[in-house]
């Protein structure tokens, strides 16, 4: 271990290697970081401040917090992957004008991941509600183009000769 260098032991089985990389990335600007250890067991994160102004005392706690944060992000990412793929596939299919298949089973869109039937019905319901928004339900006129809301401003703008 080098002078002024701190070490943090991280169990791969608890956090995952990807979470370690993401957590380290967060501190690369202010600290020099290197990794050693067993990618199946314990990884040591060696960290050294780039300058004396870096907050050295709290860095271990900050790294541990960031490891938890990144680990949770990956967990959520994995758990919602099928749902996100389904929503995106559905949105793209709707945008292209392709008719959605009637879901007699859990797969409502061609090529989309298989989802729980109840979840799929819930998503269909939410998408239908979004599509129903019109001017009556849009008091702030968010869905209206800007030029329609401000016709007088457009007419006063001088045109380039």
């Amino acid at each position: 271990m080098n002078h002024n260098e701190l070490a943090v032991d991280v169990d791969i089985r608890l956090y995952g290697l990807d979470a370690i990389y993401k957590a380290c990335y967060h501190f690369l600007e202010s600290f020099y970081i290197r990794l050693e250890g067993d990618s199946q067991g314990i990884v040591k994160i060696f960290i050294r401040p780039k300058s004396e102004t870096s907050h050295h005392k709290d860095i271990i706690g900050e790294i541990q917090n960031e490891l938890l944060h990144q680990s949770l992000r990956y967990k959520i990412l994995n758990e919602t992957q099928k749902l996100r793929e389904y929503v995106i596939t559905k949105a793209l299919s709707s945008a292209e004008g392709a008719p959605a298949e009637q879901s007699g089973n859990a797969q409502g869109v061609v090529g989309s991941p298989v989802l729980d039937a109840e979840l799929e019905r819930e998503i269909e319901k939410l998408l239908a509600e979004v599509e129903k928004v019109d001017s009556a339900n849009d008091p702030l006129k968010i869905g209206t183009p800007w030029e329609e809301n401000h016709p007088s401003v457009n007419s006063s703008v001088p045109k380039n000769s």
Partner: protein, 66 residues
């Protein structure tokens, strides 16, 4: 200047990407052997690099992993 990266934690692809981006300051020779990616940074005669070059390069490789 020699830098070592264990292959169980660093990828050759990340090291090569860093070598490309640092080409302005040095030429790099990369050899992978016995579970270690060895990198030798060779600078032009008369060209000095900072003492933190090794650590900055290592940081950059780590950044490529995420």
């Amino acid at each position: 200047m020699k830098i070592k990266f264990p292959t169980n934690l660093y990828s050759r692809k990340a090291v090569e990407a860093a070598a490309v981006d640092f080409a302005e300051w040095a030429r790099f020779e990369i050899i992978e052997k016995d579970g270690v990616i060895g990198v030798e940074a060779i600078t032009e005669p008369g060209m000095e690099i900072s003492e933190n070059f090794k650590e900055e390069f290592s940081n950059y490789v780590l950044g490529q992993m995420s």
